[in-house]
């Protein structure tokens, strides 16, 4: 049965979402529980699939049973096996987190909310595991549509933010579609494996150059790379409380993974214009790292602060692609996976504080660590990992990125890495100071929470995030050894 796992990981949340509305009509929580079951199953399968890939090599799955270039194909190797597992886990714990945000009044709204989250996760899972260019476009659109809805659910200002994000997102989607079209016109197939074989034979440099530029523009907009990041801060501040972690934590990262897949696996590294493109990308990444952190320092709204800091994180993942050495790539992949839990976790905290005290403004976070120990512990863990203090995953990913940068002689990126992690330190310790030390602002509970700090449905995801941040720290060598044989650097 295991060779069916790549397909089932994506199909199960899809079926869960499809049925949830009908099942909610039968009983209020039946739809929700079916979605939890489907997500838990898909997470279990993604772990089994990852284990299988590590043991006996990449798996591929041809939909409809036809030969490779003629049917859609899912190709799972260690790189996207890890990404799929991360997305499945984040999806599961975010679904748990959304329990607290339920509007029990209308049956439709309960079933619909979970259906949208399940579709969102199914879209990202598919995006990570697909090996067909056009198929990725459709998954990209499913994720985008669900994201517009999740942002729109965050109240009236969310509507405007969702509309603006929709316009920008559709521009990005269309650019990506045009890139796929040009690649199809040059190579004749849509399967990435087949496409790279044809491109490797050469003679198609100009088409690949134009397609690459379009894709960088499209995927750059989607992942809020520096020059195209305009939509992100407003979108993240008004998100629906539960799913903010998913959108900021995971959705912003999937396009970076797609760009990695195209640049390194499809176009190959000895493509004529590759050096110039990587230099241009390097400039974007460099400015992006600085810009995100500097803007984040001045913010008082915690969600906006996290939104700006996720612009920096996107530049970290692109850093691996720009530096080009396999070690740097492995490092940025590790950061990719770790940061989903760090950024996701921090958004959970922002949501939890808003849920309990109804405020997002940092200044009146006075001394809340007494009332919210788990949240403050997660904020501290996230802060340490963003700065790069050893036991957490942040340190190890910075280590590999720095090593890659030094090996290829690109010292500018090491300096940028250090400066931006210090800038991160500034605004994170500002938050820590406010939480642990500033005067008590006497915040009282907005909602009568029965016992303890937060409903269990919020505490579970947060503690999972804390555990994973430290766990990834210890497992980093296994992950790197898994991933390294697969990556070949630029001009190495």
């Amino acid at each position: 049965m295991i060779q069916h796992y790549p397909a089932l990981v994506v199909i199960l949340p899809l079926c869960g979402a499809a049925l949830s509305l009908a099942l909610t009509k039968i009983h209020l929580h039946l739809g929700r529980n079916v979605i939890f079951l489907s997500m838990a199953l898909s997470f279990y399968m993604s772990i089994m699939q990852l284990r299988n890939v590590v043991i006996n090599g990449p798996m591929e799955y041809r939909f409809g049973g036809y030969a490779i270039p003629y049917s859609i194909e899912f190709r799972i190797d260690t790189v996207n096996g890890l990404v799929v597992a991360m997305v499945a886990l984040m999806g599961l714990i975010t679904a748990f987190y959304c329990i607290s945000g339920e509007i029990r009044s209308e049956k439709l709204k309960v079933g619909g909310a979970y259906a949208v989250v399940a579709l969102f996760v199914a879209g990202m899972l598919g995006n990570a595991s697909s090996a067909d260019a056009f198929n990725m476009y459709v998954f990209l659109e499913i994720t985008a549509l669900a994201a517009y809805c999740l942002i729109a659910l965050g109240g009236n200002r969310g509507m405007v933010a969702a509309f603006r994000y929709m316009l920008v997102g559709t521009i990005a989607g269309t650019f990506y579609l045009l890139g796929v079209g040009i690649l199809y016109s040059a190579t004749g197939t849509l399967n990435m494996q087949d496409m790279s074989i044809i491109i490797q034979q050469g003679g198609k440099d100009e088409a690949v150059l134009v397609a690459l530029c379009l894709m960088i523009a499209g995927l750059g907009i989607k992942s809020a790379l520096f020059p195209f990041h305009g939509w992100q801060p407003s979108a993240h501040t008004h998100e629906e409380r539960g799913s903010a972690a998913l959108i900021a934590g995971v959705m912003v990262k999937i396009p970076v993974y797609m760009l990695f897949r195209f640049v390194y696996c499809v176009f190959g590294t000895n493509f004529k214009y590759m050096q110039q493109i990587l230099i241009v990308l390097g400039i974007f990444v460099g400015i992006g790292m600085m810009y995100g952190s500097i803007r984040a320092i001045g913010q008082t709204n915690m969600k906006k602060l996290l939104a700006y800091s996720s612009i920096t994180q996107t530049s970290y993942f692109m850093l691996g692609i720009v530096i080009g050495s396999p070690v740097a790539l492995a490092g940025s992949l590790l950061h990719f996976i770790g940061d989903a839990f760090i950024k996701g976790g921090l958004f959970y905290c922002a949501g939890a504080i808003k849920y309990k005290f109804g405020t997002v403004n940092i200044d009146n976070f006075g001394r809340i660590y007494k009332k919210m120990p788990v949240t403050s512990a997660l904020i501290v863990a996230g802060a340490l990992s963003m700065i790069g203090i050893p036991p957490t995953v942040g340190f190890f990913s910075k280590w590999y990125i720095a090593m890659g940068a030094i090996q290829t002689g690109k010292y500018i990126f090491v300096i940028l890495l250090i400066i931006s992690s210090l800038l991160n330190a500034i605004y994170f310790f500002k938050i820590i100071e406010k939480i642990f030390m500033s005067k008590d602002k006497g915040l009282e509970d907005v909602r009568p929470v029965k016992k303890g700090e937060l409903p269990w449905s919020m505490l579970v995801p947060m503690s999972v995030c804390i555990v994973v941040i430290f766990l990834l720290g210890f497992l980093n060598v296994k992950i790197i050894n898994m991933v390294l044989p697969l990556l070949k650097g630029v001009g190495m």
């Binding site: 069916h4 397909a7 199909i11 899809l14 079926c15 979402a17 499809a18 049925l19 949830s20 509305l21 009908a22 909610t24 009509k25 799955y61 041809r62 939909f63 409809g64 049973g65 036809y66 270039p69 003629y70 049917s71 859609i72 209308e106 049956k107 439709l108 709204k109 619909g112 909310a113 259906a115 949208v116 579709l119 199914a122 598919g126 056009f134 198929n135 459709v138 998954f139 659109e141 499913i142 549509l145 669900a146 809805c149 729109a152 659910l153 509507m159 040009i182 199809y184 016109s185 190579t187 004749g188 197939t189 849509l190 087949d194 044809i198 100009e206 088409a207 150059l209 134009v210 397609a211």
Partner: protein
């Protein structure tokens, strides 16, 4: 104003330069271009043998790249759910259209004044039936002629819209509340996904119609497979269109509102 004109001129000239300097696209219409020689001619030559459907587009759509169409239907479904979630909250807006319960209670017999516009109601029901019949034809005839699930679904929704617009106060052939329509859309998508799962349980790859469990020869299996997913697509498309329609209508205040 000047700024706009300059902007447009810059775009025209810029794009012209790009297209002149890079010849990355094949000359239009020449059949030796790489786009036509690699994958698509395999489809043309083997479509009849593999999928037994003369309509190449349906063959590619439903069989070779069947997974894409499943995702297409999910896009439709997610658009429907999103529209409902966004517009769904305010239920206190006066329900403009007669909900079936009200109609069934006081059914106007022929001769009562409410029944006065006989011809409009009769005409609407006739048209609706005709549209529905044509929709079924398009659905079943999909793989031969240029048809398929999406058009059939749109047509079914059309019959609902026609009866709702022309005679709002008569009972349409079938009326769905917003929640039911959304649920139906979900079921449509599930039918599609379930046919895929059927083939998986039966030992084949996802959506490999050769492995459907029905006791029929291979040739017909593909046709049944395509038929099943077309039914799923139709239900999904119809229900989504109706959901979005009802969500928007309940929310928007028309100028000629009586209240």
């Amino acid at each position: 104003m000047m700024r706009k004109v300059i902007g447009i001129i810059v775009i025209i000239v810029g794009l012209g330069y790009v297209f002149m300097s890079f010849d990355f696209l094949p000359v239009i219409g020449d059949s030796t271009a790489p786009a036509h020689t690699h994958v698509s001619d395999y489809y043309i030559e083997n479509a009849l043998r593999d999928t037994h459907s003369p309509n190449l587009v349906t063959a590619v759509l439903a069989d070779y790249r069947g997974f894409d169409t499943l995702l297409e239907t999910t896009v439709m479904f997610s658009a429907g759910v999103c529209a409902v979630m966004i517009l769904g909250s305010k239920s206190h807006i006066r329900n403009r259209f007669l909900v079936p319960k009200k109609i069934l209670k006081g059914k106007p017999e022929p001769g009562v004044s409410a029944y006065k516009t006989v011809n409009k109601d009769v005409m609407v029901t006739l048209i609706a039936i005709m549209i529905l019949l044509y929709a079924i034809y398009v659905l079943l005839h999909g793989e031969v002629g240029p048809g398929g699930g999406f058009q059939a679904g749109a047509l079914m929704a059309l019959s609902y819209i026609v009866s709702m617009m022309i005679a709002p106060d008569t009972r349409p052939l079938f009326s769905l509340s917003k929640a039911n329509a959304a649920a139906l859309a979900g079921i449509g998508v599930f039918i599609y996904a379930f046919t895929g799962l059927l083939t998986v349980f039966n030992g084949g790859m996802f959506l490999e119609y050769g492995r459907l469990p029905f006791p029929v020869s291979n040739e017909y299996l593909h046709t049944i497979g395509i038929m099943l997913i077309e039914v799923g697509v139709t239900i999904g498309v119809m229900a989504t269109i109706i959901t979005i329609l009802k969500a928007i209508i309940e929310r928007v205040r028309f100028d000629d509102d009586r209240d």
